[in-house]
């Protein structure tokens, strides 16, 4: 099985190169995920560098660009990938080394939407009541694993990573707006006004296409816009 992998070590390389690497067919099993293949390649060349941890698609560490499309290596089956399997770091982010990118900008945008529940009323001694229907509204929102696949597939985020919040952060902004317990909707909407933070989304929908958890940031962004409009009227 053939791979073409983006290699860049800032200590020794002046420019990145694509390196051909190979795994013996005997080492590849039919149900193998890409991450296992990367681990085998690293056993041969320990300098090959990538992040990974849970191996089951919940920690969000091993996001990368796989044959031109962002995804998680640990839940991408090798079967069905055209060879050579071309692996690049997530697009648009500064590369630290090989497949490892600097996600500071991405995390900054996440933090800037104030991703925490805000309640002004005094706390009751029991849980806040929330109907199953109200809770259902959080499904498809709270499951985000912050892997970065969506924001780094978004042309608007590539052009304005400092100004446009990006699909991942906006999905979380809506997660709190949609929460029946949250009491900061007006502040949250105000903070998204202006031409960039929210409105740079041009519904290209790359985010929806690549999300490894099957979430839909474009829809969430649309919902925020709708609520904004209602608040205006």
């Amino acid at each position: 099985m053939r791979f073409s992998i983006y290699r860049y070590n800032p200590e020794t390389d002046t420019a990145p190169t694509m390196q051909t690497m190979e795994l013996a067919d005997a080492d590849v099993t039919p149900d193998m995920m890409l991450l296992e293949a990367l681990r085998l390649l690293k056993a041969h060349d320990e300098s090959l560098t990538f992040r990974h941890s849970c191996g089951e698609g919940v920690c969000g560490s091993d996001a990368m660009n796989i044959n031109g499309r962002n995804g998680l290596a640990c839940i991408t089956p090798l079967v069905g990938l055209t060879q050579p399997i071309t692996l690049r770091p997530l697009p648009g982010m500064p590369v630290i080394r090989d497949l490892v990118v600097d996600l500071s900008q991405f995390y900054h945008q996440y933090r800037s939407i104030k991703p925490y529940l805000v309640v002004h009323d005094p706390e009751p001694e029991t849980e806040y009541l929330q109907s199953p229907q109200e809770r259902d509204k959080l499904d498809g929102l709270y499951e985000c694993i912050l892997c970065g696949c969506c924001s780094t597939a978004c042309p608007s985020f590539w052009w304005n990573p400092d100004k446009f919040r990006g699909p991942a952060a906006l999905l979380q902004a809506y997660r709190f707006i949609a929460d029946s317990r949250d009491q900061a909707t007006a502040e949250r909407l105000d903070a998204l006004e202006g031409p960039y933070r929210l409105f740079r989304c041009h519904t290209v929908m790359n985010c929806v296409d690549v999300c490894p958890k099957g979430l839909n940031p474009t829809k969430a962004i649309g919902q925020i816009k709708k609520i904004m409009l209602k608040h205006l009227i």
Binding site: R51, E56, C59, R97, P115, Q130, Y142, E143, L146, D179
Partner: protein, 599 residues
């Protein structure tokens, strides 16, 4: 790092250093940040990538939202689940605090699933009973089957709000201390740059999680290499009860990913190759919801005796298709995703092949119920190490005893994360001034850091062919084979011999990649050192304990022996073992005396 003079290592100073950003570390950090302590959290991964994120089924608390419940019943179940090895003061404290702490998590935003009346959804889990061993209880508070994810993200979010200082992607090498034995922070390595940093702190909390990577087939993330426990060992602190390692009955066969107990809590059950619901034979009352050690042994026994499923009769089936699409989609969406991804099976239509899989480290750094690390000293068996705390899977309070109940792990990290935070706040009031770290403790940490800068002899002149990857694979195979679900003296002794050889051979391993920037090969080498320390602790403790209790099953000593073995093991670096009594006296209620454990 070659020849780096430690005088040039930068120093940062904080009130508290928290090592590890899972639920335990983040809950403690939140408590501290909200009390305006200056707290630094060091984590080798970005916080939401910590392994708490993978916890599925839920968190136990006697809220009684679904069925009658009481914290005292929860306490009884936990003591019995741990086969009477748990410390009952800590267990009472945890079970009593549980309802309040679940409500607190709900208030900070955790999206728990809901009942029709708007309260938190609770499901039945293994080992739960009403009224001290009566009917099944429903005590596990859940956010679908992504409870750990929901809790970890909410805790991280609250820490963002509280402006906790995070050192993301820093790897802790070793603790540093002063001449009087006060722990004063740690030497850490910034992974991105490869540069060392000394984080000096008046108090240090270890919250680095478990060591599931000791075993080849495990449910754990790659990062679960027991770094904090190994760091404690190197600082002269023992690890407690390491022979008790939980094998979860339902890992995906051959792969290891966790299939939550929630599947059985929602009504799933196990069948063998004859289509029989065999758990009725092993646990007539609790059946599939007996405690995990009991179910794991039953599954292993069925397969061992030729009643497995499939062509090779090498697994058992977890039947769920009778639950219906609605329940599976609503309550077990993450499990369904995972099974479809890794097995190409939709559990709505077909059963899931499972096998017992290494899951949870019951043992760890000995602490009291305030999270203080305690060691035997002249004055007694449990003297606090000044300035040092530990919580969560890396600690041994011990609330889980010889076997943890499902749903008690998320509870443990939140309860003791908070308790440790509170105790640290008090400690800081009485210890306002920084102490000075001893030179030799810094020297030792710096020497350890330099270990992987060593280069092997040039090729051809006796160059070692040993690699980190090769040795790690051998270590895991040894642990699987010699320290698994069923153990005997001979097998454990052979396993210990093999592990001692691995320890020797580790001296001959050298890295080929010596670059500084994001050198994951170097991190994996440090992790392997940690695994070797803990594998030795686990096998040696298991070899010494000649009884069967909870998860530790000795075929040659099949009975529990409360006369000789109702005590905690303490393993010290170098191989010495010591023991200390179990705390049988709770805080306010009567203690539960050991009795036969039947489910």
């Amino acid at each position: 790092m070659h020849g780096v003079n430690h005088m040039t290592i930068p120093i940062r100073k904080f009130d508290t250093l928290v090592i590890g950003a899972g639920g335990g570390g983040l809950r403690a950090a939140l408590q501290l940040a909200q009390a305006d302590a200056n707290v630094a959290v060091v984590s080798k991964v970005f916080p939401t990538r910590s392994h708490t994120v993978a916890a599925q089924g839920g968190m136990n608390a006697a809220l009684a939202n679904v069925l009658p419940d009481n914290w005292h019943w929860h306490m009884y179940d936990t003591v019995k689940g741990g086969d009477f090895l748990g410390d009952q003061d800590a267990i009472e404290y945890m079970c009593h605090a549980a309802p309040r702490l679940v409500v607190e998590l709900e208030h900070i935003g955790v999206p728990f699933s809901r009942l029709d009346n708007g309260k938190i959804y609770q499901r039945p889990f293994g080992g739960q009973s009403q009224n001290f061993g009566g009917a099944q209880a429903a005590r596990t508070c859940a956010a679908a089957d992504r409870t750990g994810h929901a809790i970890l993200h909410a805790l991280y979010q609250q820490n963002i709000r509280a402006k906790t200082h995070f050192f993301d992607e820093y790897f802790a090498i070793d603790l540093i201390k002063d001449d009087e034995g006060y722990i004063l922070g740690a030497l850490v390595l910034e992974i991105e740059t490869g540069e060392p940093l000394i984080i000096q702190a008046k108090t240090t909390l270890i919250a680095t999680g478990g060591a599931g990577q000791l075993f080849r087939t495990n449910t754990n993330a790659r990062i679960n290499t027991g770094d904090g426990m190994a760091m404690a060992l190197r600082a002269g602190i023992p690890v407690q009860d390491m022979e008790f390692f939980q094998f979860h009955p339902t890992g995906i066969a051959g792969k290891g990913m966790l299939i939550s107990e929630a599947v059985r809590g929602e009504g799933g059950y196990l069948v063998n190759g004859n289509g029989e619901r065999f758990m009725e034979r092993y646990a007539p009352n609790a059946k599939d919801l007996a405690s995990r050690d009991v179910v794991s042994r039953a599954v292993a026994t069925e397969i061992h005796e030729g009643r497995g499923c499939g062509v090779n009769k090498d697994h058992i089936l977890l039947k769920v298709d009778h639950l219906g699409s609605e329940v599976i989609r609503k309550r077990l969406p993450g499990i369904r995703d995972m099974v479809m991804t890794f097995l190409n099976i939709d559990p709505i239509d077909a059963p899931i092949p499972i096998f017992p899989t290494a899951h949870y480290t019951m043992g760890g750094i000995p602490t009291n119920r305030f999270g203080q690390v305690v060691v035997p000293q002249q004055q007694g068996a449990e003297e606090p190490v000044p300035g040092l705390y530990a919580v969560g899977e890396c600690a041994c309070v011990s609330v889980h005893g010889a076997n943890r109940l499902g749903g008690n792990s998320l509870l443990d990290i939140v309860v003791f994360g908070r308790a440790a935070g509170n105790h640290i706040i008090e400690y800081l009031k009485e210890n306002r001034y920084s102490r000075v770290a001893s030179q030799c403790s810094i020297d030792a940490a710096v020497a350890h850091l330099a270990r992987w800068d060593q280069r092997g002899s040039p090729m051809g002149s006796g160059a070692s062919s040993e690699t980190v990857d090769g040795l790690r694979n051998e270590l895991k195979a040894i642990m699987d084979h010699y320290c698994g679900v069923f153990r005997t003296e001979d097998v454990l002794r052979a396993g210990l011999d093999k592990m001692l050889k691995i320890e020797q051979r580790l001296q001959n391993v050298y890295l080929r990649d010596h670059s500084k920037v994001f050198n994951t090969a170097r991190i994996e080498a440090f992790e392997l050192e940690n695994l070797v320390e803990l594998a030795l602790a686990t096998v040696a403790s298991a070899l010494a304990r000649r009884e069967s209790r909870g998860a530790h099953m000795r075929m040659d000593h099949p009975q529990r022996d409360d006369v000789k073995w109702l005590k905690h093991s303490l393993f010290f670096k170098g191989g010495m073992l010591d023991y200390k009594p179990v705390r049988m006296k709770p805080l306010t209620v009567e203690g539960f005396s050991p009795k036969p454990r039947v489910y």
